[in-house]
Amino acid sequence: MPTIYIDNKPFDVKAGKNLLEACLSLGIDLPYFCWHPAMGSVGACRQCAIKVYKDEEDTRGRLVMSCMEGVKDGMRISVNDETAKAFRSQVVAWLMTNHPHDCPVCDEGGCCHLQDMTVMSGHNYRNYHFKKRTYPNQYLGPLINHEMNRCIQCYRCVRFYHDYAGGKDLNVFAAHNHVYFGREKDGVLESPFSGNLVEVCPTGVFTDKTLKEHYTRKWDLTNAPSVCQHCSLGCNTIAGERYGQLRNVVNRYNHEVNGYFLCDKGRFGYEFVNSENRITQPLIRNQPIEAAGHTTVLQHIRTLLTGHALIGIGSPRASLESNYALMELVGKENFYQGVPDDLVYVEQKIVDILQSGCIHTPSLKEIEQADAVLVLGEDIWNTAPVMALAVRQSVMKTAATHTTEQLPIPTWHDAAIKELVQEDKGFLANVTMLPSPLDEIASATMKSAPDDMARLGFAIAHILNPSLPEVRNAGEELLASAATISKALQAAKHPVIIAGTSCWNNALIRAAFDIAAALDMHEKKAGLAFVMQDCNSMGLAMTRASSFDRAVAHIQRATNSVTAIILENDLYRCIPAAKADAFFSKCKHIVVLDTLHNRTTEKAHVLLPAATFAEADGTFVNNEARAQRASQVFMPANSEIRESFKWLSDLKVLINTTSNGHEKYIEDLLIALENRFPQFAGVSRVAPPHDFRIHGARIPRESHRYSGRTAMLANLNVSEPKPLQDDDSSLSYTMEGYRGLPPSPLIPFFWAPGWNSGQSVTKYQEEAGGALKGGDPGIRLFEQTTTPPVFSKDIPDAFTARAGKWMLLPQYHLFGSGELSVYTKGIASQCPEPYVSLSRRDAEQAQLKNGDTVSVKTDGKTYAFPLTINESLPDGIMLVPAGLTGMEALSWGAWVNLSTVIV
């Protein structure tokens, strides 16, 4: 470990880092703009100047940019040197010459890196007395606001959007002191990662338009650590509340999971919490006054629970606690997943693989570090966007690593590496049904039907491990692809295979496993990552409860009258309507707990208002079986809205008075879950228990400069109410409490003295860009063991189109397929309209053209959609977008006819 002398004091620093990283890791405040831990150094802003001395004798030294100078043993530098300080102050003065006087109306104010750095550099008074440059703004869509006057030309936006995330439509234009960061012309930003510009931009050029609708400064938010609810990756977020409304969601750094970035669905898809469609009152239907109070509704439910058989339907978007509480209430054998049989079958296979311990499941960080990636059948751009971003980094970084191995260039030297690497890329094979933006960085792509993709997988596995069965009747194209891909995977040290549930195909999962396991036998550290559908799909699948279809079978056998309790699950979104209707018609009583009104809640005889993720504590298990805690951000003003597990515990007390007083806290529920299901071992340690205190103090959700305490509610009553008491966690609803570093699962927001913006995360990290102090939050429930793999022998036949019949498959859309995210207006406006997609040949054979209305007959119902011809879709497949608002679930994987054609 090299020792460097900073202002004549020796410090041990990590080799291979630059001086800026070293200083920041040591906790020394050094201003910077263009450097970003995830994107490296380019030395553009000249803000991080320090003095470097030749040796001990040298008194003059020379100014260098600390981000462009590597750490050397025995090096002597000075951060506090007067010349260096004057230089930094002058640089920020230059950057400020054109910066407008609009901090009061700038959404970045109060969490602005430029404000922080200006104060840190000591530039207080303006000496430039000439006119300021101005720029026209652009319309960048409903999610991002553009105010170009504020730009300081650090190039971070383009380096993120264009270089890091691969977006094409944002770039730098014009020349000299007129450079302009924007689009060629007004229009919606195309990249699904555009929201990160808000955090990447050190000033207020790009700001969050959804926050603007109900603007609140960072210091006024009540924040809590949360977990994104919109896909299975479980990205860590910080959600902020003010005046009883969820105001924004920002990234919460987790080195192993999302790092510095979120996708737009996760960042902006929070507005369902504030929706007018929320269920706010317990309802007892079919009586003169349906709205009921807490006690009335519980008394009514008592009559429904006693003397009836109970069936519980769980939910992949409800927390583990709520699902387990329902299971405890109805009994394990009466608890069903609320997910169709076909999907449960696929998910069960994934859980089997992960639980067997044969193979390592990489975190997103490990995917970024992979040197060859095979995506087998999963459209990760739409179903797991941050994973697609990680795959992109692996492709770009492999080439960079290769270069740095050849030449003595440090990995942080972004500009130099880009020059050398040019178009060189790592290996990515993107095997999907439809083209994806990832294809342009892929070395190999293949577009085919799910079964054919699985066959390709088995062919690769056969090449890697010849003892596995050969794929019969394989075409030459398939074998050639298999040969290229297997060669690249064999050459790699850390190959990663990605598969998922979006094709509803079990063979794909098995094929992906066979490849990964075969690679592992070659003594490689191969990883196998799966993508699931919802934020807690993995947690629910790990309970190994039966599918919804079994619940239907159960209810048809039942001799007693049945009371069904449905937990936070709109069954009509994933179960074909006929089947769901059949289930409901057999239920004597239906109790539904949910957050928003939907078709399932319409069926409820008793409806209980459940808390959303922002109003509840809950544990969610992500795609790599990492259990993570989302803490309550705010208590709903309406006390009728309660966490589902609290409602369910109350119901349990109704029928079983002995349980009174047990499992009061979340950790009690989780310990009971661990005892019942050993596969969840460790889940109770995800976050500190509710009585955790640091020096007797809780961790405040509010910043030390939270304002308006004595006026916020003064219009209702001039006497301030008692601060809210949080009995479920060690976070408090006040400004008072422990102000030091909290344990990483309980970081409510990132802030450090002098660092008001999100860049303060460096102060929470072991080293700049490294793990959070005390370890990253979340506990992985499955780890690799030495269990030998069991390969599959069953290879599907090649997919063949049938005459007059099509295989119905879902197409997932980042904006549109989410149940909750579409409540954000800006996301809803970017959702596609329903359509049906056929290949060109199929459409021509049926004599159809683009835009024709076609009717699809499935599950005993006929649906009419406009036709879109998809050039790259394999013949014999019909794609319909999944989960659009107002669309019913179809039987994915079934063969359907186009019964009639309406011209």
Binding site: F130, K131, P136, Y215, T216, S707
Partner: protein
């Protein structure tokens, strides 16, 4: 004994001096223009609200008695949706006025705010807003801020160049 006599003499002498007691409320006390009394929200020369809802007064307030919510009109001009001061908590320190970047919030020479009910000391925006520019006539924040919020176009403000033609590569 001498001390007692001296005191009595001094008291007697005061009988002939000018009285300092002011016969309030019949007689008003003289208040200076910078006296820190009742808080008001002032208006721009163009009659628009000066407050841009930046939350700095609320943050500066040591007793946290200011609460507001910013919102925007169609032209992008910020204004407070509600603005509430709980005068039963206010200590008239004037930090809010000092923090205000737009001269919107001002303390004026008026202290006659007593109420029988504490609840009546909660002032909403309607109670605070006055139809005057207060101590700083002529100032309009949007004339000197860079952005276009319907007050002036980009480049038309004080010390602003005309907007850059981004299609031009001329030096």
């Amino acid at each position: 004994m001498i001390s007692h006599l001296r005191t009595m003499w001094l008291v007697f002498r005061h009988l002939f001096q000018k009285k300092v007691t002011v016969q309030y409320p019949e007689e008003k006390v003289p208040l200076y223009p910078r006296w820190r009394g009742r808080i008001v929200l002032t208006k721009d020369p163009d009659g628009g609200e000066r407050c841009v809802g930046c939350y700095l007064c609320a943050a500066a307030c040591p007793v946290d008695c200011i609460a507001l919510q910013a919102t925007e009109n169609e032209e992008g001009r910020r204004y407070p949706e509600f603005f509430r001061i709980n005068f039963s908590r206010c200590i008239f320190c004037g930090y809010c006025e000092e923090a205000c970047p737009t001269y919107a919030i001002q303390l004026i020479p008026d202290f006659e705010m007593a109420e029988y009910k504490r609840q009546d000391l909660v002032y909403e925006k309607e109670d605070l807003l006055i139809n005057s520019e207060g101590k700083y006539p002529g100032y309009n924040f949007y004339n000197v801020a860079g952005l276009d919020a319907g007050v002036k176009e980009k480049g038309k403000g004080k010390d602003e160049e005309t907007p850059v033609d981004i299609k031009s590569l001329l030096p």
